[in-house]
């Protein structure tokens, strides 16, 4: 799979060159993934920067360390979950009409906004499983490695997330 290849095998590259390569290859996909997760474009950019900078610091400390795209998604997922938990603790909720505010006008469609509304209603763990498997393209076993759980748990969470999303979409807005 394209997303799991290891970028640490080229020992000739220094940390800066490797991080430049990582950024060029993954910035768009990672930022979109985080935007779906946190439903906030600016915050998604901040989280993406933080993730790449953390990768740079790790490569600077140990230049021979192999770094996979899975590590980027894992760090991004952890950052996003932390943000969502803080937001929930503060009691912040997004009004229904603002659900699609993080998305561009050309991305607006009834289906897309409904989908984002349904995703916003999921818990962090279910959301991470759904986005990692269907959005980032990882298998359940790979997602389990990223999230530190079992493949069966990932599949169950995907199933429960699908059920919850159908319930949300079935409710009248």
């Amino acid at each position: 799979m394209q997303n799991v290849y290891v970028l640490g095998l080229d020992r000739a590259l220094d940390a800066e060159a490797r991080i430049e390569r990582l950024v060029c290859e993954h910035q768009t996909k990672l930022a979109r993934y985080v935007r779906r997760f946190v439903n906030d474009a600016d915050l998604a950019l901040d989280v993406t920067q933080d993730v790449f900078f953390a990768a740079y610091k790790m490569l600077r400390a140990d230049p021979s360390r192999p770094l996979s795209a899975g590590w980027l998604y894992k760090t991004a997922t952890n950052h996003s979950i932390t943000y969502l938990r803080k937001k929930r603790r503060r009691g912040e909720t997004l009004p229904l009409e603002d659900v699609g505010c993080a998305f561009r006008t050309d991305e607006h469609s009834a289906t897309s906004l409904d989908l984002q509304n349904a995703l916003a209603g999921l818990g962090e763990e279910q959301l991470a499983c759904v986005l990692l498997t269907t959005y980032a393209g990882y298998s359940s076993a790979e997602a389990a490695l990223i999230l530190g759980t079992t493949a069966d748990a990932v599949r169950q969470r995907v199933c429960r997330a699908m059920r919850a999303m159908r319930k949300t979409l079935g409710e009248p807005a």
């Binding site: 800066e16 991080i19 430049e20 950024v23 060029c24 910035q27 768009t28 930022a31 979109r32 935007r35 474009a41 998604a44 950019l45 993406t48 920067q49 790449f52 900078f53 740079y56 998305f103 561009r104 050309d106 991305e107 469609s109 289906t111 897309s112 989908l115 349904a118 995703l119 759904v130 986005l131 498997t133 269907t134 959005y135 298998s139 359940s140 069966d152 990932v154 599949r155 169950q156 969470r157 995907v158 199933c159 429960r160 699908m162 059920r163 999303m165 159908r166 979409l169």
Partner: protein, 209 residues
């Protein structure tokens, strides 16, 4: 929810993600026929497809590479500044310590910091008894006659004769200068009384020689 149903949820997830085998699909299909909870699975699976297609329809292309590289360069500059500063301070401290040891300042500073005396005089000072000029005068007045008396004694003369080096002249002790011993009884004199009365009393009580 029973434990066995958790297994069917896992199967449903595997089917939705396209990871299930044919046997697992058939097993789940048999279960879904009689399960109200799993009856809506086909619609749920379509929902998952919607998520996948939503990814394809996104047009947002963020660019964070310039910001990240600037941040990395800032960090590198900060690190190099810190390294240069640390090296500068280390060199300055090293030079200062070397100069201090070469000039001897460090030894004195060390002594001062430890509270230790600096010189021999400081070491001897606590044990030194400061004598007044009167005491010095008394010591000299009493010691000189005794020294002359010892020098003129027959024991010293005999010692000089026996231990004299061949050819060396015989040393003769110098004559003692005229010296009158102090009148100790004069201290007993009290103004207004007969000067001889104190002397008489002292002679009367003096032990016989």
């Amino acid at each position: 929810m029973t434990r066995s149903h958790a297994r069917y949820e896992s199967l449903a997830g595997a089917i939705a993600l396209g990871e299930a085998t044919q046997t697992e699909r058939e097993e789940f299909a048999q279960h879904a026929d009689g399960c109200a909870l799993c009856s809506g699975f086909p619609a749920e699976r379509e929902l998952l497809r919607t998520v996948e297609t939503a990814r394809e329809g996104e047009t947002w292309r963020p660019s964070v590479d310039r910001i990240i590289l600037e941040r990395i360069h800032d960090t590198q500059k900060q690190r190099s500044r810190f390294t240069v500063g640390a090296l500068g301070w280390a060199a300055a401290i090293s030079i200062a310590v070397n100069v201090a040891f070469v000039t001897g300042f460090a030894g004195r500073l060390d002594g001062a910091l430890r509270g230790a005396p600096e010189t021999t005089a400081d070491v001897a000072a606590p044990h030194f008894v400061r004598l007044s000029p009167e005491t010095f005068a008394t010591i000299r007045r009493r010691s000189l006659p005794r020294a002359f008396a010892i020098a003129q004694s027959p024991h010293v003369a005999k010692h000089d004769r026996t231990h004299r080096l061949p050819g060396a002249p015989l040393r003769v002790a110098p004559a003692a200068p005229a010296f009158e011993p102090p009148d100790l009884l004069a201290g007993l004199y009290e103004p207004g009384n007969d000067p001889n009365s104190a002397r008489n009393v002292a002679i009367e009580f003096a032990p016989p020689r």
